[in-house]
Amino acid sequence: MTAASEIEHGTSLWRDAWHRLARNKLAVLGLVNFILITLFCLLGPSFVPYKFDEQARTLQSSRPGELIFARDLTRNKSREPRTDYIPLSKMIDESAFVSLSRQEVAEKVEKLKRRETVQAGRYTYSRSTRHHVLGTDALGRDLLVRLMYGGRISIGVGLAATAVSILIGVLYGAISGYLGGNVDTAMMRIVDILYTIPFTIFVILLMVFLPRSIWLLFLAIGAVEWLTMARIVRGEVTALKHREFIEAAISLGLGRLHIIFRHLIPNVMGSVIVYSTLTVPNVMLLEAVLSFLGLGVQPPMSSWGVLIDDGAKTLETTPWLLLFPAALFSLTLFSLNFLGDGLRDALDPRASKD
């Protein structure tokens, strides 16, 4: 058999898988959706006129899409002639309006809505061009743009750490399961030992001894997440290796590496992919806990995990700060999940018999 024909054989197998995948509408939807979300996060910020760390402190926790008014601060000694921004829902609390009756306040607000300027107390008010589609967080930062930046980090970390965990876990598990005997025992004991190392301590030590960086973050996560992957793969390989087709391969005298890479790993890919779609959310959530502990995403940077964590703390007063990050996060995971299931069916040769 020549090298060329082998490659051809390989591509056609994957091409078959691709065809099967393309026929699965949900999987395609998941794939398209995931690509769209990724593009949204990558390109989105250039279409939003706010920066992810730009604070408008008087605009804290404004509601999604709320009307925003500007208050001229001429008395302020700051560098530029500064303006403060007040959301519609807080206008009633404005000190300049306190002496006015509800009716008068409503009239003034009506005027402002018609883009007229209004004088009250020492300040001049006008309607601002600011528009925060998803509202602002506790520091008056635009949630939309933070969501996009957060997505870059979360998707990046999720994919990279999962890739690390697949790489290590599958190889480790397959080798352990296939070789069996003492090697297997030793390798699985090592996994047991690593399982029992307390994660927090591990992370704190990493944080202190090594420079903090996002790369370190997913290396650390990948280094933890591969353990379960290895166990699952090892379990499957142990069962698979007594199956006829592997025994046949052994009796044909094929090399160990050949058997592992060509026969065992492709057969466990289904489980690996399914578990990977479980790993990605895990990684994203773990990332939030880590950021909370001080490793990884440093303020004012954000990630979906951080946004959800922040939002969960204020879920009764400002539910949108939880709702939007959680919704986008879930949408991403659903997409990955459908894609994962689709891939699983596509890669599983037995499924094609249906």
Binding site: Q60, S61, R79, A138, L139, F292, K313, T318
Partner: protein, 538 residues
């Protein structure tokens, strides 16, 4: 048949769901009838031994169990409230005090409280082997520091003496007009000698005497039950000298660390008083439930230490610029939102006649000018420094706002470094930081509790800042008995401190928490030390 079952079950569930809120008598309602105060206490106390603990959490419980010579005044913490001592006198310069222990003062096992018990207690906390965190509170007593540091081995040479069973003489290092206020600190509390010696030596740090079955105190309440991380229960002490004044039958302390959980517990009717309120809930309570939320001024300052050994921060103009660029009003109005006051000086206001020099202001133009003079026009060439904070949502929020202010007004880029608590403490004490978040809470009602820490080499300085004139002013103040002159010296010292600041001041604390309408006689107190014997429930 099966369907009928399901329907029945569903009906029951719906009934329960609808009926439950209507018939609700909460735990707090029931406890109020039984006169049991349900108290949110923040975190689990380390211990209940007044000589080895160091936190406010512990103090809330210990002050119900043990009473010192002077107790907490129910309305004004600057005033003395007679405790174990019913009268006292001092010499002309307030350096020698004699306390008379009241008749009928008893320990919870029936033993009378004697002057010798206090001598034993001061001996205990000053024993080097006990390694008490707050032993230095007693250093104002003659010979105490030497004894604690092992330079003096004979405790008789220390300035405390039992003249007889009821009279106690305390000799101090120098004039100490604020001594009565200092005495309310739990480091001066007595312990029952026989109980201590039953469970170990006088200087055994680890001892079983604080277990509920062993505990002997002399306060209005006695320890009933201690379920770690769950609840600590104290009950009325019938042998307390003033038992007839005590209104409550008991207090249950719940160590709920998470603010949101605590607030939910309050709303569910499981608590009478909380420790804190989540930031985002404050406006809502202020708007809709004004009578449930309390905003009490609190004797504490929130500030950023500046490491003056760092090249750029060595320059006083830079440190001043960092202060001038802070819009403190905006921070307290928009971020902390708990009624905090912008810290225009270091020592919080409210300590008697001491007038804090308020020299800090918001003046970005001047800040920019100073920064340019220091060689960083528009922040150009300013080193990339970091604000060190311990991991917490609120510290992060404030740090992000300050980061933004410095960037906007001065054009300098400052990072934020998050460390977990113990690492943060380590970095702070070893000065492995550029700028670090700090807080300081006063121990008693006198400005020295805030000002001594900035003397050269003080263990709590941690900035490398040193000023000979400042040191000498503080030293002089310790020799001055006249209050007006003393305060003048301290004000002068603080002026030096503020003009050449080793920190950026941010705000003066408030305590913001929730209290149900059941609780009565609860007053706002600067040190937040409440005398539980006066608290009542209705």
């Amino acid at each position: 048949m099966r369907l009928a079952h399901v329907r029945k079950l569903l009906l029951t569930l719906i009934c329960l769901a609808l009926a439950a809120p209507a018939m609700a008598e909460t735990k707090a309602d029931r406890a109020a009838k039984d006169k049991i105060l349900l108290f949110g206490n923040g975190s689990e106390p380390q211990n209940l031994d007044p000589h080895t603990v160091r936190g406010v959490t512990e103090n809330h419980i210990i002050s119900a169990l043990i009473e010192g010579l002077i107790a907490y005044h129910p309305t004004d913490q600057a005033l003395p409230e007679p405790g174990m001592a019913d009268r006292w006198e001092h010499n002309l310069d307030a350096s020698e005090w004699t306390f008379h222990i009241r008749d009928g003062a008893k320990w919870s096992n029936g033993d009378p409280v004697k002057a010798a018990d206090f001598v034993f207690s001061f001996h205990r906390i000053l024993s080097p082997n006990l390694a008490a965190d707050y032993a230095d509170q007693l250093y104002i007593m003659k010979g105490a520091e030497d004894f604690h540091k092992g330079k003096l081995t004979d405790f008789d040479a220390v300035g405390v003496k039992a003249l007889d069973d009821q009279n106690l003489r305390i000799t101090l290092v120098g004039p100490t007009p604020y001594f009565l206020s200092a005495l309310t600190h739990y480091s001066w509390y007595p312990v029952h000698p026989a109980t201590i010696l039953k469970f170990g030596k006088i200087d055994d740090r680890v001892s079983a005497w604080t277990r509920p079955e062993n505990f002997v105190g002399n306060g209005p309440f006695k320890l009933k039950e201690w379920k770690v991380n769950e609840v600590i229960t104290v009950e009325r002490n019938p042998l307390y000298w003033d038992a007839k004044t005590v209104k409550l039958n008991g207090i249950q302390y719940y160590p709920i660390e998470d603010q949101n959980t605590e607030e939910r517990a309050f709303r569910a009717g499981d608590l009478h008083i909380t420790n804190e309120v989540p930031l985002d809930k404050i406006p809502g309570y202020r708007r809709d439930n004004k009578d449930l939320i309390l905003v009490d001024p609190y004797l504490g300052t929130y500030f950023y230490r500046l490491n003056v050994n760092k090249p750029a921060l060595k320059d006083v103009r830079v440190r001043e610029a960092l202060n001038l660029a802070l819009d403190r009003d905006s921070i307290v109005e928009n971020i902390t939102r708990g009624g905090q006051l912008p810290a225009l000086g270091y020592t919080p206001q409210g300590m008697g006649r001491y007038k804090t020099p308020e020299l800090m202001s918001y003046d970005p133009d001047k800040a920019r000018k100073l920064l340019a003079e220091a060689g960083y026009p528009d922040g150009k060439g300013f080193p990339k420094y970091e604000i060190l904070i311990n991991t917490s949502e609120s510290h992060k929020t404030v740090a992000e706002a300050i980061q933004q202010m410095w960037k906007q007004e001065l054009g300098i880029d400052i990072g934020i470094r998050n460390e977990e608590w113990k690492v943060y403490l380590d970095s702070q004490t070893n000065m492995k930081y550029d700028i670090t978040r700090s807080g300081w809470i006063g121990d008693y009602m006198d400005p020295v509790t805030f000002l001594t820490m900035w003397t050269t080499g003080n263990g709590n300085n941690n900035t490398g800042w040193s000023n000979a004139e400042y040191d000498s002013l503080i030293k002089q103040s310790f020799l001055e008995a006249d209050e007006a002159k003393r305060f003048a010296l301290l004000e002068k010292a603080e002026t030096i401190l503020l003009k050449n600041p080793p920190f950026a001041t941010i705000y003066w604390y408030t305590r913001v928490y929730l209290k149900s309408a059941h609780v009565v006689n609860w007053n706002s107190l600067l040190l937040d030390n409440h005398n539980f014997k006066y608290i009542d429930l209705k």
